[in-house]
């Protein structure tokens, strides 16, 4: 009987067999896995270039078995643009957090999308600056307590959370924009499908693909992993609705 057993689950080929530095309950690990599964699905790891951004995700060069260029804070879409223009036959993705993409890097992401660069952007939104210790992010929810909004985010003086999937999807140059979460098996399955789509758009030369993934940061939220996971469904998804905001990819 053993000879007929089939292995149905393993570490994706595109991920190195190493431990990550991520905190318990952090969903970067899950999202890394989805990126790796998508690369495995299309068998593109040997031709993929990852752009590492500044934040908890900077160490992706230690985790993915691919070529990587590390970008300055917020500039990943510009670095990715330079790389893709030089090597158009390679698959280029950038993996950015919310401080990186939606604060210091808003100009770079909007203009890369608007030019319709053939890129895949993975945007991890956990409503805080993780690496620097939990400061207020552009995506921090109204009333959310962080180390730089100690009485909660006051929208009257600190503005509103940025809804990047909607914003990027509104640009004519963007071919695909969606928001997913990884807080439940159902959402993970949906996220895996969207992740494949975000790569497929680029592989087919169909344009700029943007995938926002809602994620947890239990350490900086001051929550247990389970409570943090619950917060995604109860607080984040109502403000950041899941769904596809743009799909002109015709793939």
């Amino acid at each position: 009987m053993n000879t007929q057993m089939k292995q149905v689950f393993s570490r994706p080929d595109s991920l190195k067999d190493v431990q990550t530095h991520f905190c318990p309950g952090c969903q970067h690990g899950t999202i890394h896995r989805l990126v790796a599964e998508a690369m495995d699905h299309f068998a593109i790891k040997d031709k993929t270039i990852g752009i590492a951004s500044v934040g908890c995700s900077v160490f992706l060069y230690d985790y993915f078995d691919i070529d990587v260029i590390e970008a300055p804070h917020g500039r990943a879409p510009a670095v990715a643009t330079g790389a893709k223009r030089v090597h158009p036959e390679r698959v280029v993705f950038a993996y950015q957090g919310d401080g990186d993409l939606a604060a210091i890097g808003t100009s770079e992401i909007i203009h890369a999308a608007n030019r319709g660069e053939q890129l895949t952007i993975i945007f991890v939104n956990n409503t805080t600056y993780g690496m620097t210790g939990g400061q207020m992010a552009p995506t921090t929810l109204p009333g959310q307590v962080t180390s730089t909004s100690p009485t909660g985010r006051d929208v009257a003086s600190q503005g509103y959370p940025m809804k990047m999937a909607e914003l990027i999807g509104s640009l004519d140059g963007c071919s695909y924009s969606a928001r997913v979460a990884v807080d439940s098996p159902k959402h993970v399955i949906q996220a895996a499908k969207a992740m494949r789509k975000a790569f497929e758009v680029q592989i087919n030369g169909a344009g700029f693909a943007f995938l926002e993934v809602l994620s947890t940061c239990p350490t900086n939220w001051g929550m247990s992993p389970l409570a943090a996971n619950k917060r995604v469904g109860e607080e984040m998804i109502p403000y950041f609705p899941l769904g596809t905001y743009k799909d002109n990819s015709a793939v």
């Binding site: 990587v68 670095v79 643009t81």
Partner: protein, 340 residues
Amino acid sequence: MGALEAGCRYYFGYPITPQSDVPEYIARHLPALGGQFIQAESEIASINMLLGAAACGARAMTSSSSPGISLKQEGISYMAGSECPGLIVNVCRSGPGLGGIDASQADYFQAVKGGGHGGYHIIVLAPDSVQEMYDLAMLAFDLSDRYRIPAMLLADAVIGQMKEGLVAHKYVPPADLAEKTWALTEKCNSGKRKVVKSLRLGDGEMEAHNNNLHARYAEMAQREVRYEGLHLDDAELVLTAFGSCARIAKTALRLAREQGMKVGMLRPVTLFPFPAAPLREHCATARKVLCFELNNGQMVDDVRLALPDKEVAFYGRAPGAGSLPTPEEFLAQIRTHYEA
């Protein structure tokens, strides 16, 4: 033109006076060569596109002018840290802030002392003519590729905008220029993974990297210094000047020689590495050195560091009201210091 002849096929830039002639020329000519021109959303994006292209092994460039070069400093520091070669052209403006658009050499310090954070240097070349702008663009790429250090052409509104005769010639790559085995290649990467990065957190890793960079600066100071010498054999007074300022100084030098003054001149072509050793050698018997600049005194610091035992005088000004110093103005300074 020199950059394109040297095989530069990617340009990323943003408009700013007085350098907009550069992107305008390249936008017309690069696509026909199979290259790509991107007018980016900012100088910040431009320099980061350059970083991405450079990491992929391409010869690529950006250009800007002083305020724009300030914006690029973050990316230049990252390029220096991640050892990405590339060409940055600064057609310098005058003064801090938005400043003026007169010919000025106000950015000498920023260019040769690193400019951004982290204690690095870049290669800085100072053309004094349209011909040198062409020739040094090629040299800049060669040096930048050889040492994996970004290179800058430091020019000003005179060099950047004047019309002058140019003898175009074919670019010949140095025979010993190594292949960029460190760069991300065109095709699939089935071998060793390549990572181009500047974050170095391992114990001792950062120190070792800095020492390695500084060893390369020292090697360049030995091997790559370039300068022009005029009448240095019998000079009692040696002039130093770079770029367009050196053109004015050359005329003043000719006038001084016509009047019987034993004056010579050393024009640094490489500002980093600075020609300190040749300067020491050629000034050994001179009584005095006079440094001319189109600013309030920047390169003169490096001249004084090179010549601790010499009297080094300075005359310079950042042009105002569109007026450059005249050769006669420099000549009067030469006479004063020659006779003193």
